[in-house]
């Protein structure tokens, strides 16, 4: 395999086997140019093929548009094309020689909050679009709040339609200042501001001659440079057991391996680990990725771990490093929940809980407050949580969960609520540790 890499892949077209993967989300409505922006990124990075372009040309002329409507590229379902709206999360892909990109493209209206939350849950970067003529509006606050709630590490405020404000630096500066004021209450690791015109392509892929006062990166340039997965490997080590592999053939008699995906930090062969919740101690004997033996497994690798000794281990258990920072362990859990279903959340209602590979049931004890995501204020006197609402709630689980605060680990700190009868995924939860809940203690 390495030989081939050296000999065959020197060419420009094939030379990028070692790209990184970056996932970003976009949120926006029909008028703020989000679909046009994505179309522009794909078009200018030459990720749109002739037959797609031809089919867009035909659809555009049927709908009476002149030229090619780049927005048509992202709307996939019949209803979406007919109504000219994005209903669901659409995933799009493109690559440059430096990175492969996955776009989670979501509709921006308040009734689609759940789709935005879904798209944001796996994103490394959020692009929030602002119409330069309108400045910061409710929708901007909403998208920013969701990006902050879902702990997307980087936010890019793309100030669009700069062509319609004569590429004015003053307009750009005023919007930046206003946004910085809002974000003092939201927490972002890093915010970037870019003046663009998605329609004409200014500062999207190519630097614009119309904004001589802007010295920063183009949008694509930034997406190619923002660090990804920068902190995952410095987190405390977490390995939720997903599946138990047993084999008893001639080559591998009495084989027992624990399959899973590293969900924080890393594990090395020979290290002492603790199995939660049984509190049994063991050592890592071997780590495999397929038939390949590894010395170390890190986030987000899918591997199989073999342990020393014979311990009873089940799906949903978790390996952590011995004496390192342990996860919290409790059956009373506080969380932010985004409600995903048309049937409202019920106080006293019982739901199935999925957290990492673990499953249990839970009763909703209390709705502490709802968040008005347009004004970013808490509402304490209204306790009905409908679809697309975000609330701070407390649940009591049937058995304790092993978890981290969502702000520390997006995988071990997240959960979903599932309806017991319809089996639909009805709630998305981000765990907020109470100060009174102590870490796992042995």
């Amino acid at each position: 395999m390495d030989d081939k890499k050296a000999s065959g892949l020197a060419g420009m077209e094939t030379g990028y086997l070692d790209m990184e993967l970056l996932r970003f989300s976009t949120a926006g409505s029909v008028d703020d140019g989000k679909s046009t922006l994505i179309g522009r990124l794909l078009y200018d990075s030459k990720s749109i093929f002739e037959d797609q372009l031809q089919s867009m040309r035909e659809a555009s002329s049927r709908m009476g548009d002149e030229g090619v409507n780049l927005a048509l590229l992202t709307d996939g379902l019949r209803a979406e094309r007919e109504q000219g709206i994005t209903i669901d999360v659409a995933y799009r892909y493109f690559a440059t020689p430096k990175r492969k990109f996955i776009i989670a493209d979501t509709p921006g209206h308040i009734e689609y909050t759940r789709n935005m939350v879904t798209g944001a849950s796996t994103a490394d970067v959020a692009i929030v679009l602002v119409d330069a003529r309108k400045g910061i509006v409710e929708q901007t606050k909403r998208h920013s709040y969701i990006a902050s709630l879902l702990q997307i590490p980087n936010v890019i405020l793309a100030i669009n339609k700069m062509d319609l404000v004569n590429f004015s630096k003053d307009v750009f500066d005023a919007i930046q200042k206003e946004f910085e004021e809002i974000t003092t209450i939201l927490q972002f690791k890093k915010i970037y501001f870019i003046p663009i015109s998605a329609r004409d392509g200014d500062n999207v892929v190519y630097a614009s001659a119309n904004t001589p006062w802007y010295n920063g990166e183009t949008l694509l340039g930034l997406l190619e440079k923002i660090p990804v997965h920068s902190n995952e490997n410095s987190l405390p080590a977490r390995f939720p057991v997903q599946y138990i592999i047993g084999s008893n053939n001639d080559k591998h008699p009495d084989y027992r391996g624990y399959a899973g995906r590293v969900s924080g930090g890393s594990f090395k062969v020979g290290e002492a680990i603790l199995v939660l919740p049984s509190n049994k101690r063991s050592f890592i004997e071997a780590i495999h990725e397929g038939s390949k033996e590894l010395n170390e497994a890190f986030t987000p690798q899918s591997v199989t771990i073999q342990l020393d000794g014979n311990i009873d281990i089940n799906r949903g258990d978790m390996f952590v490093k011995f004496t390192a920072a342990y996860p919290r362990y409790s059956s009373t859990i506080s969380l932010h929940v985004c409600w995903l279903n048309a049937v409202p959340l019920r106080i006293g209602g019982k739901y199935i809980v999925r957290q990492t590979t673990d499953e249990t049931s839970a009763i909703v004890k209390d709705i502490r407050f709802k968040v008005n995501i347009n004004t970013l204020e808490n509402i304490e006197d209204d306790k009905t949580v409908n679809m697309n609402d975000i609330a701070h709630i407390t649940i009591k689980t049937q058995k304790p969960l092993k978890y981290d605060d969502y702000s520390e680990n997006r995988i071990t700190g997240s959960l979903v609520l599932i309806d017991e009868n319809t089996f639909e995924t009805v709630g998305a939860g981000m765990i907020v540790s109470d100060p009174e809940v102590f870490s796992y203690n042995i």
Binding site: D88, Y91, K100, R114, T118, E289, G290, S302, F423, E424
Partner: protein
């Protein structure tokens, strides 16, 4: 210290293996839909990796239209033997014989649409409750809306407007009796990723993917194999050309690409320079703007 970064292929592989293992953990009777095309070959390869050194804990299901390239079937049988997997074949020919479906007529006749009935019958007959498929979101605009775990009602149908939200890496495969799931572990891969992965992992492919001399004819600017399953119009003349398959379906819907690419490296640079999507050569998608969405709702792959 080791370089603690995965390249994009390793990260995609890790995500796919996670999903394949989730299927084994959450379902009683899963199966892997195997067509003999590159996507299902990559799936088979990752399923092998996911459970090594144990055997793959589910059978492969091949829906055979009876119009397959011979090379596809030879490759299939060899791979199944190597992996020690079990194979279940659902035959469209048999569905026709039993009157479950009627053969299309005319020059454009294809068994592509009929496969859906055979597929659903096969899943039901064996009681499969999850079918792993190699569909990718970049292939087609309706597929771009698919979940990893895609719920199907008791009629095998997909309701794209009422799908379960999927957040983080939590997959909800809970279902009622009679319902099943389609699972798409390589949703996030592009055509280029698949080829690069095949190169990186050095996975052998059916010879159809490499250049070969073949009798072909042209219809609607697409080249097809001049083989019995496609009736030719008198004006369609046969010639021998150097071609290869960019995707493999059955003979009636597989467009051939003029190509001299003889190695994976050459194929990759050909695709990198290509200005047409891989499904540009698929007749089954050209029937209407929403051809794929319509077939998918009915229960297609």
């Amino acid at each position: 210290m080791a370089h603690r970064k995965l390249n994009h292929l390793k990260e995609l592989e890790s995500e796919s293996i996670f999903i394949i293992r989730e299927v084994a953990a959450q379902f009683d009777r899963p199966a892997l839909l195997f067509s003999g095309g590159k996507d299902s070959i990559v799936m088979a390869y990752m399923a092998y990796k996911a459970f090594y050194p144990a055997a793959i804990p589910f059978p492969f299901v091949h829906i055979d239209t009876g119009h397959n390239f011979e090379e596809t079937l030879t490759y299939r049988d060899k791979l199944i033997k190597q992996l020690g997997a079990k194979l279940v074949v659902g035959s469209v020919e048999e569905s026709i014989r039993h009157g479950r479906v009627g053969e299309e007529k005319g020059y454009y006749a294809s068994r592509n649409k009929l496969q859906t009935v055979t597929l659903l019958d096969t899943l039901e007959k064996h009681g499969f409750d999850a079918a792993l498929g190699g569909g990718r979101r970049d292939e087609e605009k309706a597929r771009a809306k698919e979940r990893f775990f895609s719920h199907r009602d008791e009629f095998g149908q997909w309701d794209p407007k009422n799908q379960r939200p999927e957040l983080w890496n939590i997959l909800n495969g809970k279902k009622h009796t009679g319902e099943h799931f389609r699972v798409f572990p390589i949703s996030n891969w592009t055509e280029m990723d698949v080829w690069q992965y095949i190169l990186q992992e050095n996975i052998p492919l059916p010879s159809l993917y490499y250049t070969h001399q073949r009798e072909v004819f042209e219809r609607d600017q697409i080249l097809y194999a001049a083989l019995p399953p496609i009736p030719r119009k008198p004006t369609e003349k046969v010639e021998v050309r150097s071609v290869r398959c960019r995707t493999i379906g059955d003979i009636t819907c597989t467009g051939l690409t003029l190509s001299t690419a003889n190695t994976l490296e050459e194929i990759i640079s050909e695709i990198a320079g290509s200005r047409v999507t891989e499904r540009g050569g698929r007749l089954d998608d050209k029937r209407s703007e929403t051809a794929m969405e319509d077939r998918k709702k009915e229960g297609y792959f």
